[in-house]
Structures are given as C-alpha cells and as structure tokens.
C-alpha cells in the first residue's frame, strides 16, 4: 500500500497524534463540512482555517439566501462545539492566484504538516491546493480527509455548468497527443458533452471510472450519467473501458489510472465523480503531468447532502515524500 488510508480516527492516531498540524477545510452549507473540524478541534488541533466559498452572482439557480443561512447555522454549530477557526471568504471562480494565496502564509521557510479536509471543498480549489501541498518543500506531511454524506438530494446536486476548461494548475502539456480520456462518473453529467468536444479523444479511447455507490437510486443515477456520455448508444460502451472501484479506495483508482496510462499515448482526466476518486486523479495528474478537464458548475443545491457518515483519511505525503513516490 503506497497511500496509507483508513477511517479518520485510525489514521489520526497513527500519523498525527501529538504532532503539530494545521487544518485547512471548507465551511459550507453541508452539515458534514463541520465534522472533521470538530474532530480535529476536539483532538487539540489549534490552527483551523476554513474557506467560505461563494457562488457567482450570475449562477442559476442562485441560492445565496439559503446557503448563507445554512453556513451561519454551521458556524453556530462549530462555535457551540468550541471549535476555534479562522474563516476566509472566497469566490468559487477565483483566479488561480487567489487560490494560491491561501497557502502563501506558509511560505516562510518553516515546514508544516497539513490536514486538508476536502469534504465540501470545490474541485478547482482542492486540486490546486493538493498540488501545491505535494510539490512544495514547505509542507512536510499532508493528510487529506473526507466525510461521507448520509444522503444526497434526488434533485440536481449542482447545475449551470461552465464551458469546459482545465482545472487551475492542470493544463495538458504540449505536444498534443492522441489521448485517452478518463472520466470519473458521478451523479451529474454537467456538460460532459462539451468536455468530449473540447478534448481531442475519440469515443473508443474514453475510459470510465465508476464507484458503485450505496443504494439503488445512487447506482441508477451513475448509470444514467454514463448513458448520457455515450449518447444512449450501447455500441460505444466497451466493457474493458469501464472500471468500477469502491468509493473510498483511492489507491485502487490510482493503480487503474496507471494501467490505462501505460496503455496509451497520453491521458487526460475528467473528475466528475466522487471526491475520493477526484483526489486520486489529482494525485495521478500531479505525478504524471496530466491535464485535468472539468466543467465547473456555478450553482450548488443547498440540499446537496443531508447528515454525515464516516470520515476517512488519506496520507498523501509523509516526511517530505509524496506517497506515490514512496518505494
């Protein structure tokens, strides 16, 4: 196992224990966004920084009122639990520069250990932050955490996708190659067609990552997204191009990507699926300089998820060495 992972409690006891870690997460409208900060505060982590991401005002539907109210509730809940945190408001579509500035305060010659809670952090943020954490010598140890939801809304989770673009920090290098496109499939197709048109990949070179989520409805939603990708044409569906990997098996996703990578002339990733799969894709892209494409939704449903389940932790870097390079 190259990436030590397990439930938060186990990993915390094994890797963090009494060490001095700083925590970076996202305070969102989701109840589950509070779980890791509460846990860390309870275990004595003093520096907890939470980003508060705002949807752009031209998002539709624009849920600003409901979202603000729920964030306030979550703030209250953190205060009630005596969590001492710093709150940093940022725009969802902030420039790369602004995202990088989040880590600028750690660029002071010291070496830090970071707990990155990606539970409610938008992909365009956590992808670039993870890349920085993995590459910069300022960060000695990096552990990512993720809290699963108890349930997801049956409505659209996110809407109003933008045109396809590379995630900040993850443009494909030149020369352009005949590429394999790996799409991790989630509950929303979110402009996947525009992705297919942007990426120079032929349909038979498209690989699909699925996650076998819990529950019939979740599985049905995932397959519906897949049907949209193949335009309802079963002929486009080649079984060997589909890999079903459990939601939280970050390592298995990485290994599958490596198999596909070695089998192709170039690879581009599209993380539309669960965060844990996206985390693996980001790690892989950092290690192999791959492009990562996404169609950023501008609007997130305030009822995105309800409740919370188990929290998981993944050791991404230890003692200055990213875990994908560890022998």
């Amino acid at each position: 196992m190259r990436i030590p992972s397990g439930n938060l409690d186990n990993i915390y006891n094994l890797f963090v224990h009494d060490s001095d870690f700083v925590a970076l997460g996202c305070l969102s409208f989701e109840e589950r966004s509070c779980i890791v900060p509460q846990y860390l505060s309870m275990h004595g982590i003093k520096s907890i920084n939470l980003l508060e991401i705002k949807d752009p005002i031209n998002a539709f539907p624009y849920y600003s009122g409901e979202i603000t109210a729920r964030i306030e509730l979550n703030k209250q809940s953190l205060s009630n639990a005596n969590v001492n945190f710093k709150n940093q408001p940022l725009d969802l579509l902030a420039d790369d520069e602004k995202i990088l500035d989040i880590l600028a305060c750690y660029n002071n010659g010291k070496r830090y250990s970071v707990l990155l809670d990606i539970t409610s952090m938008p992909k365009r943020y956590f992808a670039l932050i993870t890349k920085r954490l993995l590459r910069s010598a300022s960060f000695n140890n990096v552990i990512a955490t993720y809290t699963q939801a108890n349930n997801y809304t049956i409505e659209h989770l996110a809407e109003d996708p933008m045109s396809c673009d590379y995630l900040p920090g993850f443009a494909s290098m030149l020369p352009p190659k005949v590429e394999t496109l790996v799409i991790s499939v989630g509950y929303e197709s979110l402009g996947i067609q525009s992705l297919l048109e942007t990426c120079d990949a032929k349909r038979h070179n498209i690989k699909i990552l699925m996650s076998s989520p819990y529950g019939v409805e979740s599985v049905r939603r995932e397959w519906r997204t897949l049907r949209e990708i193949i335009s309802g044409d079963p002929q486009q569906l080649i079984t060997r191009n589909i890999a079903v990997i459990p939601l939280y098996d970050v390592e298995a996703v990485y290994q599958q990507l490596r198999v596909w990578y070695e089998d192709s002339n170039g690879i581009t990733l599209a993380p539309f699926g669960p965060k844990t799969h996206s985390l693996s894709m980001v790690r892989f892209a950092v290690n192999n300089n791959c492009g990562v494409l996404y169609t950023q939704p501008k609007s997130y449903n305030p009822d995105y998820s309800t409740g919370y389940g188990e929290s998981w932790a993944y050791v991404l870097k230890w003692d200055g060495v990213p875990c994908f390079n560890r022998p």
Binding site: P61, R132, E159, C164, Y166, A171, L174, P175, G191, S231
Partner: protein, 689 residues
C-alpha cells in the same frame, strides 16, 4: 398500430444519424471528407475561403466548425489526394494554406489567472505584461503549427497538395527555409541554434511548455532565455505568410489562413483577462496583414461583444477589417420556401451518413422514409377509430351556430375543415355578425381563402389534437425540415431518434416506406425533449434558459389552445423594437438583461430570431422571436410561423424572464406599446387582458 416485437439490434447499433463527436469528425480527415456536404455549404460560404478576414456566425449546430475545418491543410490534403482537386465549389478559388488553433485546448484562457507580471515585478500585477506573454505564446504556438504543416508539405504525402498550391519541391531548399525561419528577427535569437524542422519544433515545444508550466504552478519563474526573447503579436505570422509566398515562382499569392477556435469562451473562462485576450485576437485582425488572414467561427451573438484592439480604444470594423458570413441567413427558412437551401443540405448530409454506415440507399430514400405530410389527413388521424366524434372540434361558437355549421358541411368534411369553419364563424360572431349572416356566408366556404387558411392550419391541428384528447402528430419529410429550423444538428437528432424508434420496434427504417406515423411522432417527441434537456443540463446558462422557456412554452400553448377563433395565428412568438434592446443601456438595466438573455437563447438555438416589418404605424425596426421549432412538440406549440407575432415591450418580456409572477401569461398588453416618455417619467402600466 401493428407493432413487430422483434428487436432489430443491428439497425439500432448502426444508426447512421447518431451524433459523432464534432472533434472526431474534425480531426479525422477521411471521415470528414466522407461526411461533409461540400457542394452546398462551401458554395454558399465562399468568402470564408478567400483572402479576407472572415467571421462565420450562426447558432449552435449550424456547422460553423465543419465549414472552417475545410481550410486546414490536413483536410484539404485529404481532398486533393483523392482527386487532385479541391471540392468542386473551390475550383475557382485561389489555393491557400490553412493552420489552426483551438484556444481552450492550448490553455490560452489561463493567461493572467496566474500572473506572470506579479512574479517579475515582485507582487505588482501588470495586465499588459501578462498579455505580452500571452501574445508570445500564441505566436509560437502558431509557428509550431506552421512548421508542422511545412513538414507535411515537403513529405511524400504532400505531393498532390504541392501540385494544387503550385509549389515545386525542386525549387525549395529545406535547410534554407530552416535557416530563414530560425533567424527571423522577431525571435530575438531564440531559434538560432536550430538546424532542422524537427529541432525547431522541439525548441518551440520547450518554450510553450515553459509558459504552461508557469501557469500550472510547476515553476515559479520564466527563464531568462524566454523572458528576454518575447515576440511581438502578429509579427511572426507576417513572416510566415511571406515565407509561404516565396515558395511560389509565379506571381500568384499563396495566402496563409489561420483558423481560431473557441474565441467566444475566453471571457467566460477568464473573468479578469478574458476580454483582453479577445482584444489580442482583434489586434491580429485589425492589422489587415496582406499575407495572413484570420477565420473565426462564433455563435451568433458571441461575436461583437468586444471589438476593441489591444492597448487602444479603436475597434475592428466589419467590411473594413473583416467580413461576416451569417449561416442563419443561408440556412433558415425565408418566406420564399422554394429557395430554401436547407432541405438540400439535410438530404445530402443524411445520405452521406447512410453510405458511411454501409446502407445502400438513394438520396430520395431519406424523403421516402418519412413520406409526405398533409394537414387534412393528419386531422382525420385523430378520429380514425370514431369518425363521428370529429364534430367535437366545432366547439367555440354558440351551439345554434355550431349546429348550423354541422348541417351545412358535407358528410365527409374533414376535422380540419370543421375546426376552421368553426373558427371563422367564431371570429365573425365576436365581431357581432348575426347568426343568419354567419350561416349564409359559410356557404361560400370562406375558410378556404388561401391566406386565411394557410396561417391557421397548424394552430387548428393543435386544437384538434387537444379536443380529441390526443397528442399532436408529427411526421413527414417537410415537417422534419421545418422542425429543424435550418439547424443540421437538430435535423440529425430527429432522424436519429426516428431511426432508433423504428429499429426498436423491428421495422427497417429504409424498407418500410414511409415509417408509421406513430413511430415518426414518437421519435420526434424524443428529439424535442432531448434538445430541451441537453441545453438545460449541458450548456452554460442552460438552466436559466430552460426555466424561462419552460414557462413561456406552456403559456404559448395555452394561448393557442384558448384562441378558438384562431384570431391571432401568428402570436406564437413575440416582437420587440430593436431600439428597446440595443440602445446604450447600462448593464443592470432591464433592456440590457433582456437583450443579453435573448441573444444567448439565439446563440444556443433555443430561440429563433428574425427581423420583421411592423404592422404598427411606427418608424422603428422590429425583431421577432420564436421558440426553436424543434422545441415545438415538447411544448405543444406551432412549428410553422406566420406573419404577426405578439407585439410586446421590454417590460413584459423582462417579467417573463426575471419576474416572479408565475405562471406567465402570453397575451397582448392592454396599454400602448410606446416607450415610456422619459421627460415625464411616464411608466406604461402592464395591465393584461
């Protein structure tokens, strides 16, 4: 309906109309050559192939990328290698050399999002400096494409292309060319050490990847070798154009065409510098280089939002700096349907797809597959099991008049004629004609007057379908052409869904002629729904468009169904004064919000827009908007549009789009349509019927 239950999997799997990815088509020269309808499209868009800067505009799905793709040297090479000649319509056009860039794919939009200037100037951002870097990146990327194209040109595969271009390989020394290119002053010595085309490409890739590495945060600074050799926007392209001309011994020019793709998404993907990046491209156009010409495809209203050049307030001007080809003008139906080009294009495109999928069929097979449509037959179809029930469609006028109508009509009168007769009678009744007058006039069958009848047929059929508790039927070659609204993507979607539906039921789409009406109808409904949902879920801003149109569509449907006199058959769309939309309005004004929204809907083929002559006594020019015809089945509204739309104003349309009153009402305003008198602060009241 007699349904065969056996599934025809082979025909389903080989659905020739299923949409291949645009990129697959464009990047595969052989497939493109087989699928592209050059006879029709190229002939109509000839100026795109002439040495002038050209902007090709049209809604999503009109085939802009397909047309411009023909300019690329790889595609032209495919054509020329087969026949030694370019596509027939281009035979009279002077040869050209085309390279291309997809701005999104090369991450051009990222310049400025991570500021290079901030790093250089220790924290101080300098937008101009960032744009200088973007210009250098673009110059070198296009240079790379140019050098790659030369490699092809000088290879064995380029032989026929050289012949078409009038270039003789024996007149050319590749080493001289390499020396010339690598020592252009514009590079400031960056390529000095290169001694082959390959080495230039390697060096170029290094440079491009250095810029990308910075933007990707892989490196923290730009090496001196690159920073100190930044090229000036456009200069290298001019040098490339001149070099290309030097290959020909004759005096004929050989222009360099540069296709720029994804220009329109720059402001969306780079909120801070996107329009500045567009200004860089505008600057290239403004230069009016005599040897380099730019070709840009953009959705209808995505062109023209930013026309300023980089570093100055001057703008590029149509006709002076560039020409525009509007595909809507070419492909949308005008009032003279005999000159309508779209059916020819549609047939050609569809037939090519049949051939590629190995179906042997004549072009006419497409038409035969759907057969004819005839209004009266359709109206009978709704009562095919209970013909006597058809008199229900006479509903509307008072019972005494209805009885009179039924008595006067021949025994075999179609439901359509009954409905039209009733509508005519109701109109006259509303105008206070006496019952006797109405019944006596009915003898002359006034609903047969050509214009009166023509304008009312489709609304009448929608009413008949509702009155018979049925779904409106859609079938026939002409209907599908109308539903496509000049949009080839819509046409192929409809055919694809009909094909799928028939294959599912075990019917061979090319052998059952025509396909059953129910099969066609089902396929068309599916395509209509897919069109609506695809935009909603997939495209930027689509969710809002769906929200508005899904209110407007049913409102129009209700208006059509409710107007039993069919007094206003054209009121399935709405008309606004141009001055209300395109004046100098502030960004947050109702006028600007409405015009922006309408423009987006037109660009994404959700609404159809046409100029029209006002029936009001006013000097103002007007425009009218209808839902895209392919959405008509989904919302149950007429797909054929007649003259007079609903005259309205910006306030009402704003209310439809952004107001909170739901459901909306698609009816005439009672108040004057005059714009508010600003001096008196007069605000028209929006009282409704």
């Amino acid at each position: 309906m007699k349904q065969q239950k056996s599934y025809n999997n082979d025909n389903r799997a080989r659905n020739p109309f299923r949409d291949p990815l645009v990129t697959e088509l464009i990047e595969d020269p052989e497939l493109y050559r087989k699928m592209f309808s050059e006879k029709i499209l190229v002939g109509e868009t000839l100026s795109a192939f002439l040495p002038i800067n050209t902007i090709l505009i049209g809604p999503q799905g009109f085939g802009k990328s397909m047309i411009l793709n023909l300019i690329r040297y790889k595609i032209m090479a495919q054509w020329v290698s087969k026949t030694g000649l370019p596509p027939a319509p281009l035979k009279s056009v002077s040869p050209f050399w085309g390279i291309s860039v997809n701005l999104t794919r090369i991450n051009f939009q990222a310049f400025g999002r991570r500021s290079i200037s901030k790093t250089i100037k220790h924290g101080q951002a300098d937008p101009d400096l960032d744009l200088t870097c973007a210009a250098d990146y673009l110059n070198h990327y296009l240079f790379r494409e140019f050098v790659k194209s030369l490699q092809f040109l000088f290879s064995n595969d380029g032989e026929k292309l050289r012949s078409w271009l009038g270039i003789k390989i024996e007149d050319i020394s590749i080493s001289d060319i390499v020396k010339t290119m690598s020592t252009w002053r514009t590079w400031f010595g960056y390529y000095d050490e290169c001694n082959s085309l390959d080495s230039i490409i390697v060096k170029c890739d290094n440079r491009l990847n250095t810029w990308l590495s910075f933007l990707n945060t892989n490196i923290e600074e730009i090496p001196k070798e690159i920073w100190e050799t930044k090229s000036t926007l456009g200069e290298p392209l001019h040098a490339m154009g001149n070099l290309l001309n030097s290959f020909k011994k004759s005096k004929d020019r050989l222009p360099l065409f540069v296709i720029i793709d994804q220009y329109e998404v720059l402001p969306e993907l780079n909120l801070t510098y996107g329009t500045n990046l567009q200004r860089l491209i505008n600057t290239l156009i403004k230069a009016r280089d005599p040897v380099v010409f730019y070709k840009i495809g953009a959705r209808t209203y995505d062109w023209g939002k930013e026309l300023r050049v980089w570093g100055a307030e001057s703008r590029i001007e149509v006709q002076r700096d560039y020409s525009i080809i509007n595909l809507s003008d070419i492909l949308m139906r005008s009032e003279d349907t005999k000159k309508w080009l779209f059916p020819l294009l549609a047939r050609d495109v569809a037939h090519k797809r049949l051939r590629i999928s190995n179906y042997r069929a004549k072009p006419e097979a497409l038409e035969e597959m759907l057969g004819p449509w005839e209004a009266k037959s359709e109206s009978w179809w709704y009562f095919r099991y209970k013909k006597n029930r058809r008199f229900v469609v006479a509903e509307g006028p008072p019972q005494s008049i209805v009885k009179g109508i039924n008595k006067q009509l021949a025994i075999d009168t179609s439901p359509l004629d009954i409905r039209l007769a009733s509508a005519w009678a109701l109109q006259k009744y509303k105008k206070l004609w006496s019952q006797q007058q109405i019944l006596s006039q009915l003898k002359s069958k006034p609903w047969y007057r050509p214009w009166w009848r023509k304008e009312r047929i489709i609304p009448a059929l929608i009413q008949i379908a509702t009155m018979s508790n049925s779904r409106k039927l859609y079938y026939g070659w002409k209907t599908v052409n109308y539903l496509s609204g000049g949009n080839i993507t819509a046409f192929l979607l409809i055919y694809s869904e009909i094909w799928d539906m028939s294959a599912k039921l075990g019917l061979h789409p090319l052998k059952v002629k025509p396909l059953p009406i129910e099969v066609q109808t089902e396929g068309i409904y599916n395509s209509s729904e897919k069109w609506a949902m695809r935009d909603r879920n997939e495209r930027t801003g689509g969710r809002k468009r769906y929200q508005v149109i899904s209110q407007l569509g049913p409102a129009i449907h209700d208006a059509v169904i409710g107007d039993l006199a069919i007094s206003n058959p054209g009121e399935t769309g709405f008309s606004l004064r141009e001055a209300e939309l395109w004046g100098d309005f502030p960004n947050e004004s109702k006028n600007r919000k409405v015009s922006d929204f309408l423009e987006k809907c037109v660009s994404w083929a959700y609404l159809e827009e046409r100029p029209h002559t006002s029936r009001l006594r006013e000097a103002a020019s007007r425009r009218k908007w209808y839902l895209h015809p392919i959405l008509s089945p989904f919302y149950g509204i007429p797909h054929i549009r007649v003259k007079e739309p609903l005259y309205t104003n910006v306030d009402q349309v704003y209310e439809w789009m952004f107001g909170e009153n739901r459901p909306i009402s698609f009816r005439k305003l009672k108040t004057s349509l005059s714009p508010p008198n600003k001096k008196e602060g007069f605000q028209p009241r929006l009282l409704r019927d």
